[in-house]
Symmetry: C2
DNA sequence: AGAAATCATTAAGATATCTTAAGAAAGATT
DNA sequence: AATCTTTCTTAAGATATCTTAATGATTTCT
């Protein structure tokens, strides 16, 4: 557990043992069963989660009842509703475990204290955030300009093995198409 | 000029006069005429730009010749192709002035040196990047779930006065619809 | 194993949006 | 003012994707 986080962090900057311990000990570890919620729509997102193991989805239930998945989170990813976490407002979406999932979680206050104690962490989260922004920009590029079929095959390529871990209707939801139409796409391959 | 940047920066953290001077002097100032390019598609994005005055668009020309605008940049915004800037790869899009535009520009190397000399700047750009990520997530929410008409009226609301500064076909491009269809939407208000 | 629940497919008709092509309006340039 | 260029509108037919509803296949639970 501690190893896994350390290994992740030192990809971004140098840390000594003490710092790594402090970071790890500031987080609390938590396990969620399949279908458990890490965050519920409309409530404040209290934590930034580092996924040690498992799989989660971030999604929103629309007024008409439709579910709309914006992100899947897997091992070694941070997940949170950043808007809610930073501004302490109600979250527009939920985070739910799709498999048994173990995370390290840290509150905003805890994280801010860490920034003060370990300034280089500021750099690490700058870089992580930059990478997330780039990833989202790339995703956008695809969603804006590719049709459903291309988005589907792109996804299979980018995250192989994913279609085995997640039901097809959730993939459809992530791709922003109906399950019926995804079924069509697969048929007419 | 210096005032404008300083005023912007101190919204994010405390800086002393010396630091503010150093930051300002590390940037170079540059003016672009209408239609000039700050960045050309396929070339490496050498600068992060802070727009002092003016208006730019970030857009990509697709294989079929269509232009696709992803971002408009206005006063007091940073603009860059982050992927290209950080990874020093060819940019997938261009940045072009739509009005006479004055910017402060800084290279990756210069910025990295500043991070070392003024560690709190690391925090500032962490926060700026977080805010950009949140803004993009919000935009996504709208683009994924609202139809063209709703996106149009949302945009008018969010950035009022914008439709006066930018031709309608560019707004259509940003909204990811054809100019013809936008014309339709406006007619059937 | 059987029942219940969840998930995937099929098909027909509906809708949003695009494509093409032409003409009208507005703005820029001589 | 006249011409050229850019931008906007109109309209008809085409296409991608959705909606609904029903059935079939899997997985989960008892």
């Amino acid at each position: 557990m501690k190893e896994q986080l350390s290994k992740y962090l030192i990809r971004y900057a140098n840390f000594n043992k003490l710092d790594l311990n402090l970071i790890y000990n500031t987080c609390s570890i938590q396990s969620y069963n399949k279908k458990d919620f890490l965050l519920k729509q409309n409530s404040v997102c209290k934590y930034k989660y580092f996924i040690l193991e498992g799989l989660v989805r971030q999604y929103r239930v629309e007024d008409n009842g439709n579910e709309n998945i914006s992100v899947f989170g897997i091992e070694n990813w941070w997940i949170t509703n950043l808007d809610s976490f930073l501004n302490e407002t109600g979250s527009i979406n939920s985070i739910q475990a799709l498999e048994k999932t173990t995370v390290l979680q840290i509150t905003k206050t805890e994280l801010e204290e860490l920034y003060l104690k370990i300034p280089v962490l500021e750099r690490v989260f700058r870089k992580i955030t930059e990478n997330m922004l780039i990833a989202l920009q790339r995703k956008n590029e695809i969603f804006m300009k590719k049709n459903s079929k291309e988005r589907y095959y792109n996804m299979l390529e980018q995250i192989p093995g994913f279609s085995q871990r997640v039901p097809q209707y959730m993939i459809a939801s992530y791709l922003n198409i109906t399950p019926e139409y995804l079924s069509d796409i697969r048929k007419n391959k």
